[in-house]
Symmetry: C2
Subunit: 322 residues, 2 copies
């Protein structure tokens, strides 16, 4: 949770007045996301989320993220929609930060998604990949192999203070992935961070996706691998094959995976596990004790990485019956 | 700001289902108040605030606070209204904490209230005092003289680490107040914490009061003194006589102050300044660096205390033309 940047009444009122959305009636800092400052804004015309982008988001990337949300919404995917001000702009500045006002999305994120929710996630992930296919902008994935190497360089000196032996374990995994990383798979726009807190549900049906601030162009199956890690492991680190099956079957009803994508899944899942192991280790080492952020446990992703290291074929995920 | 207690989806859904307010459609932790955990809840029937009471609130006091809100609302004062569950209860338990669901109040709190807002505050404060006159329950003021002495005993050892000389300065003030504290003034239900963040405005008119968790039975003029301190000083510590006049004139249109109350105001304002100096000093010394709370500056209230110490008559507040 996070509310970092404080906005004064005067700044806020003049900001809201520059949109055609009625007068401000309520304004509350909310605990949503850990990267940016978010406020829930009520006006005469409804509910909105005001996001102030903090340092982790590069201002140059914001036009990509905002245009992507508009593109996806225009293709029927339920996601927050940036609101245009009276001059037609979606990207603005407030309290010295880049800022955007976006529509409010109803729904609740689930802490413990069940099998039906994994199916819902699989379906919407494929719909997202299809809806993004004709998005005209491109953004590289900062958090793929070269980014992992850079993160490793940042954390290696103190990694063993987080988990003993972590430095060497990451180095070995990085070396393996650098030699074997997948190429030639279908690419497109991926969400790259589709954890349960970024998927809203109403009555056990997906009501929408949020938080597109890691979206980029990369292998679509890598996005599937991120979701396998985030949705199909139980709290005790066991891999739930039933959830995996529900997710992939629903995905494939919309967009069948190629044989090459299926074959690459174990490797992509290792990479996806390493990516979150690295960023969590980095955050663990670099989070100010006063920051209003819950630091997530790196060990969870080390366990997931080790699980995938023992997998030799996608059939080991229970994909044999595929 | 604060969200302390984490509520699981399952707990929340069954909690909300025990009220006749429709199905849950959204749930967000909000940054409101510093004492309790607050969530903004949307259901099929509207918006609500869910409050989980944290350790600073005594569970035994909660029936007083909740009944007071119902009493005030029934007399036309705009404030959050506790919602009754299907069994008629307003005080519940959730995630191991006492909890209540209350109605959502529209409006914005002002960081820099102007003269007209001080007038609005004066009027609603008097209306609050009048509406509370026939409230049948009673609760002593924990944070009056005996409470200040207890707080002083807790902080005196380290007070000088907060502000050099603070220990002796508080001791002298306490001795003065113990000798001279007011008696015999009109008493009733007071809010006792009516700072700008607890008063909502819409279109520069008061839309309601919130946060009744320091309310108690004490001298009504003490509540006025708390507001003089909280609303009539400028950020540079100067006392704004125009704001004072706007506040008191509006108050007196609803409820004229007695001569004895006016004469006691300088002393009550010293006590009110000491009360917040003590609690802020206590919080400064006792706040865990990881707590999601902004610690408020004790020095602000030391400056206010010193201002009132130099006042010899209420006429020094510009009340001569009263």
């Amino acid at each position: 949770m996070a509310v970092y940047t404080d906005v004064s009444d005067e700044e806020l009122e003049s900001f809201i007045a520059s949109y055609d959305i009625g007068a401000l009636t309520s304004f509350k800092g909310i605990a949503e996301g850990v990267e940016n400052s978010n406020y829930l804004v009520h006006t005469g015309s409804g509910r909105y989320i005001l996001t102030l982008y903090e340092k982790r988001v590069r201002p140059d990337d914001l036009p990509y993220f905002l245009a992507l949300m508009e593109h996806l919404a225009a293709r029927g995917l339920s996601c927050p929609l940036p609101v245009h001000d009276r001059e037609g702009r979606t990207l603005r500045e407030l309290a010295g930060r880049p800022a955007a006002l976006i529509s409010f999305l109803e729904g609740l994120s689930l802490r413990r998604p069940g099998i039906e929710h994994c199916a819902g996630l699989g379906q919407v992930l494929a719909q997202f990949h299809i809806a993004g296919a004709d998005f005209p902008m491109a953004r590289g994935n900062d958090l793929s192999l070269p980014g992992w190497q850079a993160l490793y360089d940042d954390v290696k000196e103190n990694a063993d203070t987080v988990i003993p032996g972590l430095k060497d374990e990451i180095a070995r995994e990085l070396a393996h992935l650098e030699t074997h990383w997948a190429t030639g798979l279908p690419v497109g726009v991926i969400h790259a961070d589709l954890f349960p807190d970024n998927v809203f549900f109403l009555d056990d049906k997906v009501s929408g996706l949020i938080d597109f601030y890691f979206a980029c162009n990369d292998m679509l199956a890598y996005d599937v691998a991120v979701c396998l890690n985030a949705w199909c492991f139980e709290p005790d680190a066991s891999f739930n094959v039933t959830k995996r099956r529900a997710m992939l079957q629903a995905y494939e009803l919309e967009r069948p995976l190629t044989e090459a994508e299926l074959a690459a899944l174990p490797l992509l899942a290792r990479g996806a596990a390493l990516r979150f192991l690295l960023t969590r280790t980095y955050d663990w080492l670099n989070t100010d004790a006063n920051a209003l952020v819950k630091t997530k446990d790196p060990a969870e992703y080390l366990r997931k990485l080790r699980f995938h290291q023992r997998v030799t074929s996608y059939r080991d995920y229970g994909l044999g019956e595929h």
